[in-house]
């Protein structure tokens, strides 16, 4: 799966978790850019990403990522 496609799926996941249809992710987006991003939403993001991409993630792998770009790269590694 291409990184562009992963970013698009991730964008849908984020919009659903944060209940915000106007949310647009870029590779540079960080947790600091989304006010509602907290420990619980982080867990929901992992679960929804797993569901959308049909993969299994480790919480620690996601917790260390600096921005969405790193998350896309990590997901790409897990998928491919």
């Amino acid at each position: 799966m291409e990184n562009k496609e992963i970013l698009k799926i991730l964008n849908d996941v984020f919009q659903e978790v944060f209940d915000d249809e106007t949310l647009i992710l870029t590779r540079e987006t960080t947790a600091n850019d989304i006010e509602e991003w907290d420990s619980l939403n982080q867990i929901k993001l992992i679960i929804e990403s797993e569901r959308a991409l049909n993969i299994r993630l480790k919480s620690r792998d996601i917790n260390i990522l600096e921005n969405i770009g790193e998350m896309v790269d990590h997901l790409s590694k897990v998928i491919n």
Partner: protein, 494 residues
């Protein structure tokens, strides 16, 4: 040795900084790392030389386990390594607490001789446990002993954090070893950051401390105003004490060309408990998030989705349970006493309410009300954090809220009579001048707490200007002027 000790400031720091940079340029990066490890051991041993053996033993043991985990990521080896670290921490820090409580459960009153807790044991244990987990997970590919030792022993962060993860230090240590890295480029900024921290500790935290101490030492004789004054004073003291320490640590790191993560981001501006824990003791929260909260929460949340639990059941098991476990550990990490367990419980309660509020999409309170509720929860938790025992903490809370204790000091009798409030000579607010001084400090410190930033991104934007030189010199002058009796840092006990 303390960061605010004249021996450290005027002897240890200048000599070590000079030798470090001289060695780095003339001999090489590895030699400069050996030098800073040796200096850090001297720094640690200055306090109690025999415990150097414990620190060294811990480093050698954990390096050996890490090395093995990198070759063969066995779960059994990881668990053995983690349990050994926790057992050592448990022996020194929790043995008496648990034995005394087991005794109480059995109706016995066992008393044990006090065990001297080795300085920094909670910090270096956590840092190394995180490293073992990361090595097992494949987050670390290889590690040299010198890098490992520098990572754990480096004196700017050894005693009370920031709790650093190896993966964020890895590249910096490699650069340092290779003679590259930041070198002296961050030195000036490091000095300014260190001065800011020293000012916060010596001029702000230590100045408000006697007011807080005077209140907490007479919990059963306080009136409402005194109790509130003391609690607000302590809330300010602990922030300036610990964030001052953290700024000094970050500043020292910069002086040696190492960037350490920040621990605070204007926490008293937080407008919710979730927001507060994103801003307070950030590296500790990160540790608990990564290694305790998230794995438990993810495990239960997956189960809840698989079994189609109701929203209430999901909230109870997948949200409340990990928060309670995390804050129970966090409370006990701060100290082996029930007061710290309640400190954790109050914070957990605040976070649970905050999450429930969001989950059920209740109307968002306005910012000021959110801030007020957050600070009330934080202050309540800090009463248990500071009080000598639960009884004292409960007494202080009672006196803060029970109208019976609304008594004016005798020097305000005119206004008390006018308002129909009783008055008498008070123990803490005995004189007008003392009370006004305390109120003045509180107002000044509230302003400082709300405006003095501590983000390195902000710090790195700082440019050398005349204004910065004057303000830094003024802070240094004030801090040195007050440096007669270096006091210890609150977080050193953990």
């Amino acid at each position: 040795m303390l960061f605010n000790d004249p021996v450290f400031l005027f002897l240890f720091l200048p000599i070590v900084a000079f030798l470090f940079h001289w060695t780095r340029r003339k001999v090489g990066g590895s030699a400069s790392m050996v030098l800073i490890v040796a200096a850090s051991l001297l720094f640690y041993g200055w306090w109690n030389p025999p415990y150097l053996l414990l620190l060294l033993g811990s480093v050698i043991f954990n390096y050996t386990v890490t090395h093995q985990l990198l070759k063969n990521p066995s779960k059994l080896l990881l668990i053995t390594g983690m349990l050994t670290n926790i057992a050592v921490l448990g022996y020194f820090k929790y043995r008496n607490f648990f034995m005394e409580n087991i005794g109480l459960l059995m109706g016995e009153n066992w008393q044990f001789e006090e065990i001297f807790i080795p300085l920094a044991i909670s910090f270096f244990t956590f840092q190394q446990v995180a490293l073992l987990i990361d090595a097992h997970d494949g987050q670390i590919k290889r590690i040299k002993f010198l890098d490992f030792a520098t990572f754990v022993i480096l004196f700017p962060q050894l005693i009370a954090g920031p709790i650093v993860l190896y993966r964020e230090m890895d590249k910096q240590l490699q650069s340092l070893r290779g003679g590259r890295g930041f070198g002296l480029s961050l030195f000036g900024l490091g000095v300014v950051t260190f001065i800011l921290g020293l000012f916060k500790k010596v001029a702000l935290a230590d100045s408000i401390a006697p007011f807080a101490d005077s209140v907490f030492s007479v919990a059963n004789q306080l009136t409402m105003l005194e109790a509130w004054g003391g609690v607000v004073a302590y809330t300010l003291q602990i922030y300036f004490d610990f964030s001052g320490y953290s700024d000094m640590a970050v500043g020292l790191g910069m002086m040696f060309g190492i960037l350490l993560p920040i621990n605070f981001n204007l926490p008293y501006r937080a407008t919710s408990m979730i927001d507060y824990w994103k801003r307070w003791h950030i590296t500790m929260t990160r540790f608990f998030m990564m290694y305790i909260y998230s794995p438990i929460s993810l495990l239960i949340m997956r189960k809840s989705i698989l079994n189609n639990w109701s929203k209430q059941k999901q909230f109870l098991l997948a949200i409340i349970t990990p928060i309670v476990i995390t804050f129970l550990v966090s409370g006990l990490w701060h100290g082996a006493a029930w007061t710290f367990v309640i400190f954790g419980a109050v914070n957990a309660f605040g976070l649970i309410v905050n999450h429930a509020w969001k989950e059920w999409k209740l109307p968002k309170p306005n910012m000021f009300f959110g801030w007020f509720l957050t600070m009330l929860t934080v202050m309540t938790s800090l009463i248990y954090f500071r009080a000598d025992n639960i009884v004292d903490a409960n007494l202080i809370i009672l006196r803060m809220i029970d109208p019976e204790y609304l008594v004016f000091p005798n020097w305000l009798s005119y206004y008390a009579d006018y308002l129909g409030i009783s008055w008498r000579t008070l123990l803490v607010f005995s004189s007008g001048s003392y009370t006004v001084r305390m109120a003045g400090w509180i107002i000044a410190l509230v302003i400082f707490a709300l405006i003095l930033k501590n983000k390195p991104s902000d710090l790195r934007k700082i440019r050398p200007t005349v204004g910065l030189a004057i303000s830094s010199s003024a802070m240094l002058w004030m801090a040195l002027g007050w440096l007669d009796e270096p006091s210890t840092f609150i977080y050193f006990q953990f």
